[in-house]
C-alpha cells in the first residue's frame, strides 16, 4: 500500500505537557481516515501536526517525522506556505471570512496567484463551489456576505475554500459537529465524492459517521494511538479492549 502521508514516532508537547506519544500512522492515498477517541485524547492535536498548524501555537513542540510523499514536512528546508496549500484544513466551527461568498473561495487562489485572468478565477470559484455541492444554492448571490449563509452552507463554503487551492490532502476537524442531520448528510456525501481526488482525514465523535465515510479508522486514547485498521474490521473485531469499550459505548 502506498501512503500519501506517513507519521513516524510522533511526539507532541505543549510546553512541558506531552499531548501525543510515539504515534505511528500511515494515511493511504485517496482514502478517508477517521480519527476517533474520547474528548481530550489528542485527535485535533494530531490533525494539526499534519499541516503544521501547531506552528501558530507558541509553546508547541514536535518530535518525530511526518512524511508527505516521502518528504519530512518538519525538515528545515520545507516551506510551510506551500505545505499548507498541499494539506488543506476544514475546522470544527465554520469560519468563513467576513467577506463575500465569492471572495471567500477566491482567497486562496488570490494569495497563491493561481490564475492569470479574472475569468480563470471565476472558473476556479465555480468549480470549487460545484465540488463542494454549494453552487446551486449560491450561484445567484456570490457577492453577498458569507456570514449570511446557514451553518451548513458556511461549512461547505469552507470546504470549497479549502479545495480551491488544489490540495492533495484535506484535514477535517469535526466538520459536522455544528450541523443538523440533513446538512451532515450532505457533507458526508461530499466527503465520499472528494475521495476520488483527495486523501482525507476526518476527526469525528460520531461513530456511525466514521463507519459511513472512512476506509481506515484510528482510535486514540490519552495521547496514544491505540489501534488503526480497516474501518469495518476495527468496528466488528477490535483488538484492544479500550477500543472495544469505546465503540460499545462503555465510556468516552
Amino acid at each position: 500500500m502506498t501512503f500519501k502521508m506517513d507519521v513516524k514516532q510522533l511526539n507532541l508537547f505543549y510546553g512541558d505537557k506531552q499531548a501525543l506519544f510515539n504515534v505511528n500512522l500511515g494515511l493511504p492515498a485517496l482514502q478517508t481516515t477517521a480519527l476517533i477517541g474520547p474528548s481530550g485524547c489528542g485527535k485535533s492535536s494530531f490533525l494539526k501536526c499534519l499541516n503544521r498548524m501547531n506552528d501558530i501555537v507558541l509553546q508547541a513542540h514536535v518530535e518525530g517525522q511526518v512524511l508527505l510523499d516521502g518528504q519530512d514536512i518538519y525538515a528545515p528546508s520545507v516551506d510551510v506556505v506551500s505545505l499548507r496549500t498541499k494539506v488543506g484544513m476544514v475546522f470544527q466551527k465554520p469560519n468563513p471570512f467576513p467577506r463575500s461568498i465569492y471572495e471567500n473561495v477566491a482567497y486562496g487562489p488570490r494569495i497563491h496567484r493561481l490564475f492569470k485572468t479574472k475569468s480563470e478565477l471565476d472558473q476556479i470559484v465555480e468549480k470549487s463551489l460545484v465540488r463542494a455541492g454549494l453552487w446551486g444554492e449560491v450561484k445567484d448571490r456570490l457577492p453577498q456576505p458569507a456570514m449570511r449563509l446557514s451553518g451548513g452552507q458556511q461549512q461547505r463554503l469552507c470546504i470549497a475554500r479549502a479545495i480551491a487551492v488544489n490540495p492533495e490532502v484535506i484535514l477535517m476537524d469535526e466538520p459536522c459537529s455544528a450541523l443538523d442531520p440533513i446538512a451532515t448528510a450532505k457533507v458526508e456525501e461530499l466527503i465520499d465524492e472528494l475521495r476520488e481526488k483527495f486523501t482525507i482525514v476526518i476527526v469525528t465523535h460520531n461513530l456511525q459517521q466514521a463507519a459511513r465515510v472512512s476506509q481506515q479508522t484510528a482510535f486514540f486514547h490519552s495521547g496514544y494511538l491505540v489501534e488503526a485498521r480497516e474501518t469495518g474490521a476495527l468496528f466488528t473485531t477490535p483488538h484492544d479492549e479500550r477500543t472495544q469499550g469505546y465503540i460499545t459505548g462503555r465510556y468516552g
Binding site: 499541516n51 498548524m53 501558530i56 507558541l58 510551510v80 506556505v81 506551500s82 505545505l83 499548507r84 496549500t85 488543506g88 484544513m89 475546522f91 466551527k93 469560519n95 468563513p96 471570512f97 467576513p98 467577506r99 463575500s100 482567497y107 486562496g108 488570490r110 494569495i111 497563491h112 453577498q144 456576505p145 458569507a146 456570514m147 449570511r148 469552507c158 475554500r161 479549502a162 487551492v165
Partner: protein, 301 residues
C-alpha cells in the same frame, strides 16, 4: 415573593439612573442652544460662520464686530489633521505589532503602559511641546532656511498626535485582538503568511472597530485645549501653513470665558456659539461614521 419585589426595585433604580443621565444631557444641550441663540441675535449666523476675521470686540455703539469664526475652524482642522496624520498610521502599526507579532510577555507589559500614558494630563504634553519640541523644530527648520513661528500648528499637531497615540493604539489593539482565533487559523490553514492574514482578513474584519477607534481619537483631538494654548497660541490667523501660529475653537472658548465680562456680553455669548458649532460638527461626524460602519457591515457581513 421577596425576590419579585427586589427585582422591581432594582429595575426602578437603574431606570432612574438612566433617566438622570438622559435629563442632564438634554439640559446641557438645551442651555447650550439657548445661549447660542442669544448670541446669534447679536451677530448674524452668516457673519459668524463665514466671516474671515476673528477679533471679537463690542463697539461703544453696542455693535459686535470681528466674530468671523472661519480662522478658528481652519486652525482646528489643520491641527487635527496633523495629529491624525501621525496617530492613525503609527497607532495602527503599533497595534498590529502588539496584537499579531509581539511575544505575549511584551504585549502584557506594553498594554498597561499605553493605558497609563493615555491618562497623563494633557498639560504635561503641552509643556513638552512648548519646552522641547518647539525649539527642536525651530532648529531643524533653520537648517532648511525656513522660519517656524515659536508657536505653530505643526508643533501643536505633532504633540497632539503623540498625545492621542497611546489611546488610539490601545483601542486599535483591542479591535484586532478581539478577532477570533478561527479567522487566523482559517487564513493560515490556506497557506497565507502572517502579513497576508493581517492585510486581507484581520484588518478588513476589524475595520468597523478601527473606524470607531479613529473617531474617538479624533473627537479627543478636536476637543483638546491645553496643548494648543501652549503650543499653537491664540493668534487667529487664517492659514493652512503648518509653520504658522493658528488657534482653535476650544482655545477661543476658554479665551472668551476667562475675563471679567458680565455674562450677557456678546463676547461671552460667542463662546456658546462656538460650543454649539463644535457640538453640531462632532454630532455630524459621529452620525456619518455610524452610517459608514453600518453600510460596511451590510456589504461585508
Amino acid at each position: 415573593m421577596r425576590s419579585l419585589w427586589l427585582e422591581r426595585f432594582v429595575r426602578c433604580f437603574f431606570f432612574l439612573c438612566a433617566l438622570g443621565a438622559v435629563i442632564v444631557t438634554i439640559g446641557i444641550v438645551v442651555s447650550l442652544i439657548g445661549e447660542a441663540f442669544r448670541f446669534f441675535a447679536r451677530v448674524s449666523l452668516f457673519d459668524f460662520l463665514f466671516g474671515l476675521t476673528w477679533a471679537p470686540r463690542v463697539l461703544p455703539t453696542g455693535e459686535a464686530v470681528g466674530f468671523g469664526a472661519i480662522p478658528l475652524f481652519t486652525g482646528t482642522a489643520l491641527i487635527t489633521l496633523i495629529a491624525m496624520l501621525i496617530a492613525i498610521p503609527c497607532g495602527t502599526m503599533v497595534a498590529i505589532y502588539l496584537s499579531e507579532y509581539a511575544p505575549t510577555k511584551i504585549r502584557q507589559t506594553v498594554k498597561p503602559l499605553l493605558e497609563i500614558l493615555a491618562g497623563i494630563p494633557t498639560l504635561v504634553y503641552g509643556f513638552f511641546a512648548a519646552t522641547t519640541l518647539a525649539p527642536l523644530l525651530r532648529n531643524i527648520a533653520e537648517t532648511f532656511h525656513l522660519t517656524i513661528a515659536s508657536e505653530s500648528a505643526i508643533n501643536a499637531g505633532l504633540v497632539m498626535g503623540i498625545m492621542i497615540l497611546p489611546y488610539m493604539t490601545s483601542l486599535c489593539e483591542d479591535a484586532l485582538h478581539r478577532l477570533p482565533l478561527s479567522l487566523r487559523e482559517g487564513s493560515m490553514g490556506l497557506g497565507a503568511t502572517s502579513s497576508e492574514t493581517i492585510m486581507r482578513v484581520l484588518l478588513p474584519a476589524a475595520f468597523p472597530n478601527l473606524m470607531a477607534a479613529f473617531l474617538l481619537s479624533l473627537s479627543r483631538a478636536i476637543g483638546e485645549t491645553m496643548i494648543v494654548v501652549m503650543a499653537a497660541g491664540l493668534a487667529a490667523n487664517l492659514s493652512f501653513n503648518p509653520l504658522q501660529a493658528v488657534t482653535t475653537v476650544t482655545v477661543q472658548i476658554v479665551n472668551l470665558l476667562t475675563g471679567d465680562q458680565e455674562f450677557d456680553n456678546a463676547k461671552t455669548l460667542a463662546a456658546f456659539g462656538l460650543g454649539f458649532v463644535l457640538f453640531i460638527l462632532t454630532l455630524i461626524l459621529n452620525i456619518l461614521a455610524l452610517y459608514g460602519i453600518k453600510k460596511y457591515k451590510r456589504i461585508h457581513g
